[in-house]
């Protein structure tokens, strides 16, 4: 029942929010998202650490066609749902200082999106997965298009067309799979897994690319990323957080759940190609991030690079790579949302995001500096922070797959430090500028929003066993489908 509750609470809250106005909107939205977090934590507590799909619920949807409304969570899903329910209240809270016009629509869309995301992470049926995949896209599209920056219409349109384009390929691939199933056909995940021995290599190859393009656009993987920097930069920051913190994990999760185990033969053949694209993304994104002037765009490129590493780890097909990607999804969500929150705190106060205009901020903002530094260290994967656990396992997995790929991917350690410290120095250190003189420290609500993220940076970094314990059996199960 937990899964259904998790899906319903945001929808119900969203509908409620639509009926309200004024300050109450923010409060109700926050409460609703917190309630969902509480449910997710209880679910975590109740979860039996084995490989089964738990808290499942299944109803006939298109009974005659064998399509079901079927949801449930194994360890991987649960971790991502926990991440989603943790980040949404943070995002809602971070928006509190900002007065968005028509707030009830704004917050309702965020909550609708939460349902879509949780649906994607818990769907056990391909049609339902596709349904939620689209449901998650629409609210964020609206948020970006309505509340975004000057160039929002053109940019969000591009983003929209891009992702819809990807989805079509996915739809075709899933349809094809559906029609290969026995009898009256079924779109259940387990039935699709059973197809892997039936499909020829040519069939697998087509399905592989169909799904890959959809997921690659979502994450994004080089060269399908050109929508991303603009969209991240132009969107209002809550949308950027939703996109980078949670939504891009749909693509990574998709690779793990809906691609690798379904077409393992094609992965054997084409996985290397996908991996090379991912690794190009790591280096390419990092190198571009080195020179960015707009700090939001800088983080967008760094996120692009990090995602490449996760994808490469997944295509390594090693336990280390998959486990690393799983924990890194969580860590990346925490870090990138925190970093965008800091960026928003800076730019909303002083009206600029250009590095040339920034500097010396630390003199007025001790709290912001410390929290910024911690999140930044997490994202450059310093040991004992959350980023290291995932990055270590990812690089180890890639290294086991191919030594040279491992070494090239490892360059992220150096480049990441270079661009992130440049960001930190350029904003925090040096003399104050005419813009940063008026900078003020974090407000209480910002601090409260950042606090759980900071706690997670250390928790995952110092004692990752809490989280790995839950995902390990599910990943072991997944591994059995790969060979």
């Amino acid at each position: 029942m937990f899964t259904l509750t998790l899906l319903l609470i945001p929808v119900v809250t969203a509908l409620l929010v639509l009926l309200l106005n004024g300050e109450l909107v923010k409060k109700v939205a926050l409460l609703g998202s917190l309630a969902n977090l509480a449910i997710a934590v209880v679910a975590w507590w109740q979860f039996t650490p084995d490989s089964s799909v738990q808290f499942a619920a299944s109803y006939d949807w298109l009974a005659s066609a064998g399509i079901k409304f079927s949801v449930g969570m194994d360890g991987i899903s649960l971790l991502l749902v926990l991440m989603t329910t943790l980040l949404v209240p943070v995002i809602v809270l971070s928006a509190q200082n900002h007065d968005y016009k028509n707030p009830s629509a704004f917050y309702a869309l965020i909550l609708f999106m939460e349902t879509g995301l949780i649906g994607v992470f818990s769907a056990q049926d391909a049609v339902l997965f596709y349904f939620f995949w689209e449901v998650a896209l629409i609210p964020v599209y609206f948020i970006a298009a309505v509340w975004g920056g000057e160039k929002r219409i053109k940019i969000t349109f591009k983003f929209f067309v891009y992702t819809i384009f990807g989805s079509l390929f996915m739809l075709l691939a899933l349809m094809y799979l559906y029609f290969q199933t026995e009898g009256t056909h079924s779109a259940a995940l387990t039935d699709l897994y059973a197809l892997q021995t039936k499909l020829s290599e040519a069939e697998q190859t087509w399905i592989f690319w169909g799904l890959f393009i959809a997921f690659a656009i979502k994450m994004p993987i080089f060269p399908f990323h050109t929508w991303q920097p603009d969209t991240y930069t132009e969107s209002p920051t809550p949308a950027t957080m939703l996109l980078s913190g949670i939504m891009l994990k749909m693509g990574i999760y998709g690779l793990m759940r809906w691609l690798l185990p379904i077409v393992p033969m094609a992965v054997d053949t084409w996985g290397t190609t996908a991996m090379i694209l991912s690794i190009i993304g790591i280096i390419y994104g990092s190198i571009i991030a080195l020179q960015q002037q707009d700090i939001k765009r800088l983080i967008a490129y760094s996120s692009f690079a990090h995602v490449g590493l996760m994808a490469a780890g997944i295509f390594s097909g090693t336990t280390e790579g998959l486990q690393g990607a799983t924990i890194q999804m969580f860590a990346h969500g925490v870090n990138v949302v925190g970093l965008f929150l800091i960026v928003e705190a800076i730019s909303s106060r002083i009206g600029t995001r250009e590095l040339a205009n920034l500097g010396g901020i630390t003199q007025n903002t001790p709290n912001l500096t410390v929290m910024f530094l911690i999140l930044l260290l997490g994202s450059v994967a310093l040991p004992l922070t959350n980023g290291f656990v995932g990055e270590f396992m990812l690089l180890l997995g890639i290294f086991k797959y191919n030594l040279w790929y491992g070494i090239v991917s490892g360059l992220t350690i150096i480049l990441g430090a270079a661009y992130m410290l440049r960001l930190f120095q350029g904003t925090m250190f040096g003399e104050q500028t005419k813009y940063t003189k008026a900078m003020t420290d974090l407000t209480l609500s910002e601090k409260i929003a950042l606090f759980p993220l900071i706690a997670m940076v250390f928790w995952v970094g110092m004692y990752p066993a809490t989280f790995l314990r839950v995902t390990e059996p599910a990943l072991a199960n997944l591994m059995t489908f790969l060979k």
Partner: protein
């Protein structure tokens, strides 16, 4: 169990100090912050001494304290655990002992700084990281500490963060260290692939079992780990961050960039001595890199005029000597030099800090001179440090350096000769520094002259303690040629059990006849005395003062500008990388974007119907889509809903 607790406490104390000062530094008065932080360092030292005596009384058995399982993935299990053995105990003594003194010193030196509490918190954090590094029972915990000290180094170099060039120096240190760290990490991956574990006590016996000396797997493992050491311990080609690191407050230079952190690379090689003994080719590389660094850095030191820069290049050069020792498998000699160097180099840096303090922030030795009468304690202790580092008997540096040179002589006579040349340069630049600073007449401003004063006790006491250690530190390893029993080497010899089975030369007594040993000592002492005299003639008798920067020319100018290595790196690596970044951003990104957009347009042109729709508002698409999906959902879910 009790022992596990004691082990856990050693790094825990400074960590608590860090948390208290770090979280509350705006609310804790400076005096309390200083006491909290110093007390936590001293507490850590006391526990370390307890552990040491416990170890000795317990029959010198290594002990592993497992705290918890950190990660287990795909058959690999990584524990968060500490190893107490001869090597970690020696390092503990140096880190917590010298560390405590420097904490004490900082209470005086940094007292007036507005970020005092933060500074002390960072020092504590550094101690914590360094302790993880030396106490970890596996390569991963070592790596935790390894990166942790890098972070602290970054934070402390850029401590005065308003100054942009300090920030650049800090960033350079971190990034350069990370280049090494990537090598280290790849080394760890190779170890995992080869041995299936990262625990020292599983890897080392297996290594002897699986491999013969000269195996290429071990070569790559040791070589990659050594890349990490090049970064952390500032060896060619990754040394240029260390001189820049002098931007940090002087106690930081003493603790992190002289006595402890930069010796991490040497610690790592001694820790992995089995692997290195199995890889003679890596050892050869280490010896050459070490010697080259020793000479190169010493030659730069000859012409520097910033008191801290001289000491910085001296540190790089002395680290080179330690690697030279490692390269000829004189592992315990390298450790001996790590310890004596910690004493006298910390002393020299703290002394330099005291000078800078007296001079009101001045660091240029051309503007000093004649300070000996004004700051007597600083002068005397600095003098002791200078004698010790120059290798004049019977001070500490003599014994450790001589031991290294002796082993090098056994290995290769050419390397030995070059090593002696290096030690001549050492004594020249050190005495040049001493004479220019403390002898002759005062060359600063009148204002500075009136201001000259000895530092407070909290600063001079550490100087005196370190001076005593610099005089008598050699007693740790008095050589057999004088009829002594080399205590340090004996103590450390169990560490090399596995290495000895690979190569009998490890830890063996010198095969040289006593007469040769005496001759070697005589040669090196004479060489040192000669260059000391030369410095005396130049800077005391003739009272030369180095020329101002503009009048330099020829080779002197090249060396004074550090052979332009920074500029070369800038032009060869940084600039091209930035150009590439620029290219990717403005050309590649635009091209890809255009490709995507023209594809989109093509689709639009192809479908005439779309064109009409496209004139509408984007929202319509979405609305249509949402409506479609919702209709679909309601329609299909009707069986559930109704």
């Amino acid at each position: 169990m009790q022992l596990t607790l004691l082990c856990a406490l050693v790094p825990l104390f400074p960590f608590i100090g860090f948390l208290v000062n770090g979280l509350g530094f705006r609310n804790i008065p400076n005096s309390a912050a200083g006491v909290i932080s110093t007390a936590s360092a001293v507490a850590s030292f006391v526990v370390s001494v307890l552990l040491f005596s416990n170890f000795l009384s317990g029959g010198s058995q290594p002990f592993t304290a497992v705290l918890f399982d950190w990660v287990s993935v795909g058959g690999l299990k990584i524990q968060f655990s500490y190893l107490i053995d001869q090597l970690s105990l020696l390092m503990l003594m140096v880190v917590t002992g010298v560390g405590s003194l420097i904490h004490l010193y900082s209470m005086g030196y940094m007292h007036h700084d507005e970020g005092f509490g933060k500074f002390m918190a960072f020092l504590n954090l550094f101690m914590f990281s360094m302790l993880l590094l030396v106490m970890g029972s596996n390569y991963l915990i070592m790596f935790f500490g390894w990166e942790g000290v890098g972070l602290c180094s970054y934070l402390l170099i850029g401590f005065w963060n308003k100054n942009v060039s300090y920030g650049d120096a800090a960033r350079k240190a971190f990034v350069m260290n990370r280049i090494g760290d990537l090598g280290f990490l790849i080394g760890i991956f190779l170890i995992i692939n080869t041995f299936g574990s990262v625990e020292y006590q599983q890897v080392f016996p297996k290594a002897v079992e699986l491999f013969k000396a000269g195996d290429s797997t071990v070569f790559w493992i040791t070589f990659c780990l050594f890349i990490g050491a090049m970064g952390k311990s500032a060896q060619i080609p990754l040394y240029t961050w260390l001189p820049d690191a002098m931007a940090g407050p002087t106690p930081v230079s003493a603790l992190i960039h002289a006595a402890t952190m930069v010796t991490a690379g040497i610690y790592m090689v001694i820790r992995s001595n089995v692997l290195y003994t199995l890889a003679p080719d890596t050892l050869e590389i280490i010896a050459i890199v070490g010697l080259a660094t020793a000479l190169f850095a010493a030659s730069i030191g000859l012409f520097q005029n910033d008191i801290k820069k001289v000491l910085a290049y001296s540190t790089v050069s002395q680290l080179g000597y330690m690697f030279l020792a490692l390269g000829v498998m004189a592992y315990s000699s390298a450790m001996f030099h790590v310890m004596t160097h910690a004493f006298f180099k910390a002393l020299l840096f703290l002394g330099a800090g005291s000078v800078i303090h007296a001079m009101g922030g001045e660091q240029d030795i051309r503007k000093m001179g004649g300070l000996q009468g004004h700051i007597k304690i600083t002068f005397l202790t600095f003098l002791i440090g200078t004698i010790a580092i120059s290798g004049i008997p019977p001070f500490a540096g003599f014994f450790s350096k001589d031991e290294i040179l002796m082993h090098v002589y056994e290995h290769n006579k050419l390397l030995w000769a070059l090593g002696v040349v290096g030690s001549m340069m050492t004594s020249f630049y050190m005495f040049r520094l001493l004479f220019l600073t403390f002898f002759g007449t005062f060359r600063g401003t009148k204002h500075q002259h009136e201001h000259l004063h000895e530092s407070p006790l909290s600063m001079t006491v550490p100087l005196m303690v370190l001076a005593v250690l610099s005089v008598f530190g050699g007693a740790l390893g008095l050589p057999e040629v004088f009829g002594f029993n080399h205590q340090l080497a004996n103590f450390m010899s169990p560490l090399f059990e596995h290495s000895k089975t690979v190569n009998a030369l490890v830890g063996a007594k010198s095969a040289l006849p006593h007469s040769t040993e005496y001759a070697l000592m005589f040669v090196s002492v004479m060489a040192v005395a000669l260059s000391m005299t030369a410095a005396w003639v130049l800077f005391v008798k003739k009272a030369n003062v180095p020329a101002s920067d503009e009048t330099l020319d020829g080779m002197t100018k090249v060396i004074y500008n550090k052979y332009y290595v920074d500029e070369i790196y800038q032009a060869a690596i940084v600039k091209p990388l930035y150009s590439l970044s620029e290219f990717c951003h403005s050309v590649a990104e635009t091209a890809m974007d255009m490709l995507v957009e023209s594809t989109g347009k093509l689709v639009n042109v192809a479908g005439n119907g779309f064109r009409q729709l496209q004139t509408g508002i984007v929202g319509y698409y979405v609305l249509a889509m949402v409506a479609g999906i919702l209709l679909f959902a309601v329609f299909t879910l009707r069986s559930v809903l109704f």
